[in-house]
């Protein structure tokens, strides 16, 4: 399956500011791509260029075979877009807005009502369809915006922070909705919620200062964490003894001590890169005869990786 979204060396300058600095990647059908990066990294700007809203300074994007520079209307027709902050016409009702979008998007008249009904139940707008949008709560507005993006069931979805402002139940529902749609579409979503990447994304791209600094599956990114394969340990022993004993294991990189109490030592045993230490740690603990209260292998934390990737001085630096 060829890529439904091809981003080719996109670059955007706002005067002296380089917002996006040569970003390229492809997104095939079935992929949910999480677009991560600190504030101001260039996520929204990249999306705006893909949708044809902003003209790139250089590079281009191809959506479903249409080049956004040559045929922006075809690109716009094949994608659904939730802009950052979900801007909406406040004086309209969700129903009025959806009728307008359906008409502009050329959904044939007989199918409009059913398309609107479908979206109404997908994003749970029952009961507010006739209320002016400006009187809706923030989360409802976001849902109205999301509904607008999927009204025409587009093959490509670009969602800029789709779960921002939603309550935990709604976040869950929206993620499930994205998962359900994922098979048939190529989806790019930006987010600051790293657990969301785990929950919905099949691939994550981290950008910093306009450049891609990491690209992989969420598991691959987690594996870059210093805590990847670390062992969280709670045993009945003195913390000093535990630390000095475990440090002797060849594959252990270090031991981070956490608060100990009542003769129970708690620590995080870090693995050397690529090493699997759970067996060795467990063996040593057993050999010492310490009573184990907890022994868990950590998959690694995306936030650590995120911080490493985006805070290090070399991250995305322009040379």
């Amino acid at each position: 399956m060829s890529a439904m979204i091809q981003i080719k060396n996109l670059r955007k300058e706002f005067g002296p500011i380089v917002a996006v600095d040569g970003v390229s990647f492809d997104t095939p059908k079935g992929e949910v791509l999480g677009f991560l990066g600190p504030n101001g990294a260039g996520k929204s700007t990249t999306m705006k260029m893909v949708t044809g809203f902003l003209p790139p300074t250089a590079g281009t994007a191809v959506v479903c075979g249409h080049d956004v520079l040559k045929d922006p209307i075809a690109v716009k027709a094949s994608l659904g877009y939730l802009p950052e902050g979900a801007p909406l016409y406040g004086d309209m009702t969700p129903e009025g807005l959806y009728k307008f979008i359906a008409q502009v998007r050329g959904i044939p008249r007989p199918r409009r009502a059913s398309a609107i009904d479908r979206v109404k139940s997908l994003v749970k707008l029952e009961g507010v369809m006739r209320q002016p949008i400006e009187t809706l709560s923030k989360g409802y507005k976001r849902r109205v915006g999301l509904g607008q993006a999927i009204l025409h069931d587009p093959p490509v979805l670009l969602l800029d922070e789709p779960t921002d402002g939603l309550d935990p139940n709604q976040k869950h529902d929206v993620r499930r909705l994205i998962n359900e749609m994922a098979q048939e579409k190529a989806i790019i979503l930006s987010t600051h919620i790293l657990e969301e990447v785990d929950a919905v994304c099949t691939r994550a791209i981290v950008i910093a200062r306009g450049r891609i600094v990491a690209d992989g599956t969420p598991a691959e990114l987690q594996a870059r964490s210093v805590r990847h394969n670390a062992v969280r340990l709670r045993v009945r022993a003195s913390a000093d003894a535990v630390e000095s004993e475990l440090k002797q294991i060849a594959t252990v990189a270090g031991v981070e001590r956490e608060a100990s109490a009542n003769g129970v030592a708690r620590c995080l045993v870090l693995a050397k890169p690529g090493a699997v230490i759970a067996g060795d740690v467990a063996g040593r603990v057993r050999a010492k005869g310490w009573a184990v209260e907890e022994l868990v292998v950590e998959p690694g934390r995306l936030d650590d990786v995120f911080r490493d990737l985006t805070m290090s001085p070399s991250a995305g630096s322009r040379s």
Binding site: F53, I101, Q103, V104, R105
Partner: protein, 244 residues
Amino acid sequence: MRGLVAVIKRELVSYFITPVAYVFIVIFLAMNGVFTFNIGGFYERGLADLEPFFSFHPWMYLFLIPAISMRLWAEERRVGTVELLLTLPISTWSAALGKYLAAWIFAGIALALTVPVWITVNWLGEPDNGVILASYVGSFLMAGAFLAIGACVSAATKSQVIAFVVSVVICFLFLAAGLPAVTDFFSGWAPDIVIDTVTSFSFLAHFDAITKGVIDVRDLVFFASLAGAALAANVLIIEQRKVA
């Protein structure tokens, strides 16, 4: 095409779901009444015509049309809905034309609501209905030209207040171009061609010509090309500065 129709419909509906339309229409009709019957001396003149009624239109439009046009783009840009609108599969042209036509239709509705005045003069006397019809056409065209200027200005800013003030100033220049004060300023030292060029841009001159009852192609072309040029500028401005 379907995009254009959808935009016109959405815009028109939005005039009427907010108080904007009603406030505007009431003020428009009230001002027409005051100007025509009190200040214009409608009864005192003892003539069954609508000349005083139409002669105030340019000056009313000077303030009322920018009040309609100021929100056309400035509000979309401030709220960010311009991003929603322009990522729909329609050209910037259709979006701009749709907004403009909706505003013009709205102005037309307000103008149409003054028809009772027309009926009144027919009841009072025997006016030249041809002249009145031509004057209505002229008034509608002039409103369209004012609107195109206002829409273009609105596209350049996020602030409705700035859009209003700047539109009033530009529209005033187009009105004033034909006033004696302006032509006097030029006459005597500037070559005739300059004076002619300046006065040829005067809304008043073209409007007065039409309200005499003669719809000259040149006057139509003037208003149409002015509106067309302003719309083209409108599209360019939108494409240039969508966000900043």
